[in-house]
């Protein structure tokens, strides 16, 4: 079981728990504002953009090649950006904090 914290643009903190699935699905299931996942989770739309909190960066890891390219469509992208449809929920992610980019 991993506990994942989302902080939205309007400063709402939403703590979610899950065993599996993508972090984007988890956010959508919990109605996290700013995570749309328009393409359904196949890294095609860049509408599930989060900034990983500095403390969590190491555990979350780096974006893949396609993901990095897609992030370039977004002006809010920085070195801690991830598209959370590409993050699989696992024990490894327990306790991470993600700031929703939009």
């Amino acid at each position: 079981m991993a506990k994942i914290t989302f902080i939205t643009k309007d400063d709402n903190t939403i703590v979610c728990e899950a065993d599996s699935g993508s972090v984007m699905e988890l956010a959508v299931q919990n109605g996290v504002k700013g995570i749309d996942g328009d393409c359904g989770g196949v890294c095609s739309c860049a509408t599930c953009h989060v900034h990983v909190a500095p403390d969590s960066v190491e555990r979350v890891g780096e974006a893949g090649e396609i993901e990095k390219d897609m992030l370039e469509l977004d002006d809010e992208a920085n070195e801690r950006s991830r598209l959370c449809c590409q993050l699989e929920v696992s024990d490894e992610l327990d306790g991470i904090v993600l700031h929703v980019a939009h």
Binding site: G21, E25, V28, Q29, N30, G31, D36, D38, C39, G40, G41, V42, C43, S44, C45, E65, I66, E67, D69, M70, E72, L73
Partner: protein, 415 residues
């Protein structure tokens, strides 16, 4: 609508797919205070459609994996869902809709997010075959999956070599099917892409063991004891345990038509998604709208257009002054190939192919030009080409074709 408040106004949205659902939430975000009703014939909670022919077909995951929004989110935003209900008429004079159960409901603003339905051509014998399905709804997928699993030989015939047909072919092949695609035109994807892309996908499917036959006009369907047969005009016969029909869609424009709204190739809307009736808007696959970038009227079948028009309509309904000006984009996933497309290639007079493939991966992009203007990019396993293409098309920036054609040079040099 009064300019002070939308507090007592009722907005009814017909159609709870990508367009309708996004509109409902966008309306709340834009400050609509009155009631929002979202009505759909489909009894399932609103879900993503693109995965239906892809991951949703190949896994046994339930719909909860692909819901557009969490059930709770509708409650939290005070959006009233009416699922499994059919609207039978729009009474635009009295501003009300009539439902199949004889009830009616008044609106201040009405939005048609009614989409389209699969074309089922009147082929001889079509009503007699047991397992013929389109690929548009969750229910279609359940039926295809169940017929497929129950058959021992798993022979699938897909009529129509467009994206839906090809994605379904790839998915059922992955599940161990013996898959045949029959396309009426001389090449697959003929309506939507250039010959170079058709050739690539033809070979991709053939390499993966799918039989593709082009120039095949299906003239009859037969039901035998345990199987169906698909008969073509040249006399060839293909046995099938499951037949999937993927020959395109028809706009659900009847309600709009009967209400006297202006119809062209779809429901005619202005740049704020308003129809010819001041209180009725339309969004998504069902709209015939003006695209500013390409300077022409068109209809799009895409998630992008549904979502973008939803945002525009929400702003217009809350008295802002938006203007639809979006660049179309699309995607398709087949086998290990990720296709990303941006722009509209119609009217191109030159194609440049930039090949960055390696021994173990297809990676290339096709760039469509009309003179010096870049119209569209199709990118295969190449998100960078898609992103660079999106920026160049959006900015209408001239492209250095020499740099583009040389895979050794970084695409970003074009920006």
């Amino acid at each position: 609508m009064t300019e002070q408040s939308t507090g007592n106004d009722v907005c009814i949205i017909i159609g709870a797919s990508h367009g309708g659902v996004n509109l409902a939430f966008a309306l709340r975000k834009e400050g609509w205070e009155g009631e929002i009703h979202l009505i759909d014939q489909d009894p399932n909670p609103p879900y993503h459609r693109p995965p239906l022919s892809k991951a949703h077909l190949t896994t046994d995951d339930g719909l909860e994996k692909i819901l557009l929004k969490a059930p709770k989110a509708y409650e939290d935003n005070n959006i009233q869902l009416h699922l499994g209900h059919t609207v039978t008429a729009i009474d635009h004079v009295h501003q009300q809709i009539n439902l199949e159960d004889g009830s009616s409901k008044k609106y201040d603003k009405l939005v048609l997010a009614v989409g389209a339905r699969p074309i089922i051509p009147p082929i001889k014998g079509i009503d007699d075959v047991q397992h013929l399905y389109p690929m548009r709804t969750a229910d279609d997928v359940n039926k295809i999956r169940s017929a497929f699993k129950q058959s021992t030989e798993k022979r699938v015939v897909i009529i129509g070599g467009g994206y839906i047909g090809l994605e379904t072919a790839a998915s059922l092949k992955k599940l161990g099917g013996e898959v045949t695609v029959l396309e009426r035109e001389e090449r697959i994807l003929a309506r939507v892409t250039a010959p170079v892309m058709s050739e690539f996908f033809h070979k991709l499917h053939t390499d993966n063991g799918v039989d593709i036959h082009t120039g095949k006009n299906v003239v009859e369907l037969r039901q035998n004891t345990n199987r169906q047969e698909v008969v073509c005009s040249d006399g060839t016969v293909y046995p099938a345990d499951v037949i999937v029909m993927g020959v395109g869609i028809r706009v659900n424009q009847e309600l709009a038509e009967e209400a006297g709204l202006k119809i062209d190739n779809g429901i005619n809307v202005n740049e704020q998604c308003k129809t010819s009736d001041n209180n009725i808007y339309a969004i998504g696959d069902c709209t015939y709208h003006y695209n500013n970038h390409y300077d022409r009227w068109l209809r799009l079948e895409s998630v992008q257009n549904a979502v973008d028009q939803a945002k525009i309509a929400a702003q217009a309904l809350t008295e802002k002054n938006p203007k639809y000006d979006a660049l179309p984009w699309f995607w398709s996933d087949q086998y290990d190939v990720k296709l990303l497309m941006v722009g509209l290639s119609d009217g191109y007079d030159e194609i440049l192919k930039r090949d960055e493939s390696t021994d173990d991966q297809h990676k290339f992009s096709t760039w469509y030009f009309k003179g010096e203007q870049l119209l569209a990019v199709d990118a295969v396993n190449n998100a960078k080409a898609y992103v660079v293409g999106t920026k160049l098309i959006g900015a209408k920036k001239p492209v250095n074709k020499q740099v583009l054609s040389d895979p050794e040079q970084d695409l970003k040099a074009l920006l």
